[in-house]
C-alpha cells in the first residue's frame, strides 16, 4: 500500500514536471509574445512521435508501421523530437505570423492542428495511424534493469533535470531585453516596429521556442508512457494548456508553473479521485473539463492577469526607497 501511494505520487510528479514544460513554452509564445498558438498541442505530438521513431527500431511488420526507426537512445531522441517540433513550428510560423487578427490566426492554427491530426490518423505509414506508437523503450530501461514498477523513480530525476534547464532558460528570457522586446511586440506590433524592432523575427523566434518546449514535453511524454496516439492530442488539450497558463498568470514563469499545478494536478487529478458512477464513466472527464472552463472564465473576469501576474520589474533600485540625487544628466541626441 505505501508503495502504491508512492508510485501514484511519483507518477503525478512526472505529469506535473512535463506539464510545466508545456506551460512554460506556451508562456513564451502566448504569454510574452502574444501569439495565439492554437495548434500548440500539435507540436507536443510532433516531439513525441519523432522522439518515438528515434528510439524505436525500424518497423518491420504490418500493424506496426512508422517512419525512420533510428534505434537511438536518450537524450538524442529528446533532441530529435524537440528539433522536429521546432522546425515545424518555424515553418508554420512563417506561414501564420502575419498581421492578421488574433481570431483569424486562431482559426488558421486550429486548421493546422486539424490537418496534422487527420494526416497522422489516416496515413498509417507515418506514425502507425489511429493506434499510434506503442512499446517505445524508456530511457536507461535496459541499462539499469529496474523493475517496471520502480521505473518512475528513475524518470523523475530525468524530467526534473530537463525542466530545470528549460525553466532557467525561460527565466533568463523573461528578465532579458529580448523578453522585453517580445512583450513590446505583444502590446503593439506597429509601435514596436516604429522603434526599430524586427517584429516578424521576434515573433518567429518566440513561436519556435514555444514549439521546442512543446516538443520536449512530447518527447518526455512518450519516453515515460512508451506510447502516443492521436487520442492524446485532441484540440481540447490546447485549450486546457491555455487555461492553465491564464489561471496561473501569463508572462510569468512562476505563474506558468502554478498553472500547471492548479490545472494538471489539482483539477485533473483531483476530479480523478471522484467516485465513478458505473453507468456514466464519462462523467468524471466531463466534470473536469467543465471545472476548467468555469475556472478560466472566472479568472479572466475577476483576476485577468492570473494568480501570479506578470512581474513589474524594478531596475537597479534598492528595496528601500533610498535617496537618489545623481539624476541631473539628460542625454538627448
Amino acid at each position: 500500500m505505501p508503495h502504491d501511494l508512492n508510485y501514484y505520487l511519483a507518477t503525478l510528479a512526472v505529469y506535473f514536471l512535463v506539464y510545466c514544460v508545456l506551460t512554460l513554452g506556451l508562456n513564451i509564445t502566448f504569454g510574452m509574445a502574444g501569439i495565439f498558438d492554437f495548434s500548440y498541442i500539435t507540436f507536443m505530438a510532433i516531439g513525441a512521435y519523432f522522439a518515438g521513431v528515434a528510439v524505436l527500431p525500424p518497423s518491420n511488420q504490418p500493424g506496426l508501421q512508422w517512419i525512420l526507426g533510428l534505434n537511438l537512445g536518450f537524450p538524442l531522441d529528446l533532441l530529435i523530437g524537440a528539433a522536429a517540433a521546432g522546425v515545424m513550428g518555424l515553418l508554420i510560423g512563417l506561414l501564420a505570423i502575419r498581421r492578421i487578427r488574433s481570431d483569424y490566426l486562431a482559426m488558421v492554427l486550429v486548421a493546422v492542428w486539424t490537418i496534422a491530426w487527420s494526416v497522422t490518423s489516416n496515413m498509417i505509414g507515418l506514425f502507425n495511424g489511429q493506434q499510434g506508437l506503442i512499446g517505445v523503450p524508456q530511457p536507461f530501461e535496459t541499462q539499469l534493469g529496474v523493475n517496471p514498477n520502480d521505473y518512475v523513480f528513475v524518470f523523475i530525476p530525468i524530467a526534473a533535470v530537463v525542466l530545470a534547464i528549460l525553466f532557467t532558460v525561460a527565466y533568463c528570457i523573461e528578465r532579458s531585453p529580448f523578453g522585453r522586446a517580445l512583450r513590446a511586440t505583444r502590446e503593439d506590433q506597429d509601435v514596436a516596429a516604429a522603434f526599430g524592432k524586427r517584429t516578424v523575427r521576434l515573433r518567429l523566434t518566440a513561436m519556435t521556442i514555444g514549439c521546442l518546449y512543446a516538443g520536449v514535453a512530447g518527447a518526455l511524454t512518450i519516453e515515460f508512457l512508451s506510447a502516443m496516439s492521436p487520442n492524446a492530442w485532441a484540440i481540447v488539450e490546447t485549450v486546457i494548456i491555455f487555461s492553465a497558463l491564464i489561471v496561473g498568470g501569463r508572462g510569468n514563469v512562476f505563474g506558468a508553473v502554478l498553472g500547471a499545478l492548479l490545472v494538471r494536478i489539482v483539477i485533473i487529478e483531483g476530479t480523478g479521485l471522484l467516485p465513478t458512477l458505473p453507468d456514466h464513466p464519462e462523467l468524471i472527464g466531463a466534470t473536469r473539463n467543465i471545472l476548467i472552463g468555469l475556472l478560466v472564465i472566472a479568472v479572466l473576469y475577476f483576476r485577468p492577469q492570473g494568480v501570479i501576474p506578470e512581474r513589474r520589474r524594478r531596475y537597479f533600485e534598492a528595496r528601500k526607497p533610498a535617496a537618489d540625487t545623481s539624476q541631473e544628466v539628460a542625454k538627448g541626441g
Binding site: 495565439f36 501564420a96 487578427r101 483569424y104 488558421v108 456514466h280
Partner: protein
C-alpha cells in the same frame, strides 16, 4: 462521371447544411466582431435537443427540429448575456473574449457529454427512399434539408432587405459606432441576432446529425472548421458571402472526395480556409466588390 454528378448532389446537401450554419455564425460576427468558437457546440446542442424531442418524446423529426431550434434561444441567451456580454462591455484585450468562447465550448461540449452520454445516437426517421432527380440520387430527407436551407436563405434575405430589424443589422455590421449614433439600439439588436444565430445553429446541427445518420457529442465541432472555411471564403460578417462560401465549400468538399481518399475531404476545406485567411483575410468575395 456518374460518381462525379452524384457527388455534386451530395455537395448540394452539404452546402445546405453549411449555409444554415455559416449564415448564423457570420450574422453574429457582424454584430459582435469576434469569432464564436463555441458555435460548433451550439450545433451539437441543437442536434441533441432535437434528438430528445424526436426519440425521447416520439415526435416526428421535422417538428422536433423546429422546436429544438426554438429551445436553443434559452441557452444562447444565457451564454451571450451572462457570459460573453460582461467581457465585451469591459473591452479588455481582444483575446479575453476569444478564450472565453473556447472555454464556453469546453463547458458546453462536456455538459452535453454529461447529459446525453458519449454513445452514438440516431434519429427516429424511418426508412428513407432515394429519389432520382435528373443526374442526382437524393433521399427525401436530403431534399428536405435543401428545401429548409433555401427557405431560410430566402427568409434571411427578406429580413435583411425588407425589415427595419434587418436594416439595423446591416448598419451595425457596417459600423457599430455610427449605427449607435444614428439611434439604433445596438444592444437589443445584438441580442436578437444572438438568438437568431443560435436557432440557425440548432437547425444546422439537427440536419447535420440527420445527414451523417449517427452522431456523438463531437458532431458539431468536427464541422465547425468547415463552417469557418465557408464563412471566411465569403468574407466574415457578410451573410451573402457566407451563402456563396457555403455553396463553394460544400461542393468542393464532396467533389474532392471523388479524387482523394474521403478521409481527407474535410481537410480540403481547411486548406481553403488557411489559404484565404493568409492571402486575403477580407474573403475572396471582396475581390468582386467595388470600393
Amino acid at each position: 462521371m456518374e460518381l462525379f454528378l452524384n457527388s455534386i448532389g451530395f455537395g448540394l446537401v452539404t452546402a445546405s447544411i453549411l449555409a444554415l450554419a455559416a449564415v448564423g455564425l457570420t450574422l453574429q460576427f457582424g454584430m459582435t466582431n469576434y469569432v464564436n468558437f463555441a458555435y460548433g457546440d451550439f450545433m451539437t446542442l441543437g442536434a441533441y435537443l432535437t434528438w430528445t424531442l424526436n426519440v425521447g418524446l416520439g415526435w416526428p423529426f421535422w417538428p422536433a427540429l423546429f422546436v429544438g431550434a426554438l429551445l436553443m434561444a434559452i441557452p444562447v441567451l444565457f451564454i451571450s448575456q451572462f457570459v460573453l456580454e460582461p467581457f465585451t462591455r469591459r473591452s479588455g484585450p481582444t483575446f479575453h473574449i476569444l478564450i472565453v468562447t473556447f472555454a464556453v465550448s469546453l463547458i458546453l461540449s462536456n455538459l452535453i457529454l454529461a447529459i446525453w452520454g458519449g454513445d452514438f445516437q440516431n434519429y427516429n426517421v424511418g426508412t428513407d427512399t432515394p429519389i432520382n432527380l435528373g443526374p442526382f440520387i437524393l433521399s427525401v430527407q436530403q431534399l428536405g434539408i435543401i428545401a429548409l436551407a433555401v427557405t431560410c436563405m430566402v427568409a434571411i434575405h427578406l429580413l435583411l432587405t425588407r425589415t427595419k430589424l434587418g436594416k439595423a443589422m446591416r448598419a451595425i455590421s457596417d459600423d457599430k459606432n455610427l449605427a449607435a449614433v444614428t439611434g439604433i439600439d445596438t444592444r437589443r439588436i445584438t441580442t436578437i441576432v444572438w438568438v437568431l444565430s443560435g436557432m440557425l445553429a440548432g437547425l444546422a446541427g439537427g440536419v447535420l446529425a440527420l445527414n451523417v445518420a449517427s452522431f456523438d457529442p463531437n458532431v458539431g465541432v468536427t464541422f465547425l472548421f468547415v463552417i469557418f472555411a465557408a464563412v471566411v471564403f465569403g468574407g466574415i460578417g457578410r451573410p451573402y458571402g457566407a451563402m456563396a462560401g457555403a455553396l463553394v465549400i460544400g461542393l468542393v468538399v464532396e467533389v474532392s472526395a471523388v479524387f482523394i481518399p474521403s478521409a481527407y475531404k474535410l481537410d480540403v476545406a481547411f486548406l481553403v480556409l488557411m489559404g484565404v485567411l493568409l492571402v486575403r483575410p477580407a474573403g475572396l468575395m471582396s475581390l468582386f466588390e467595388r470600393g
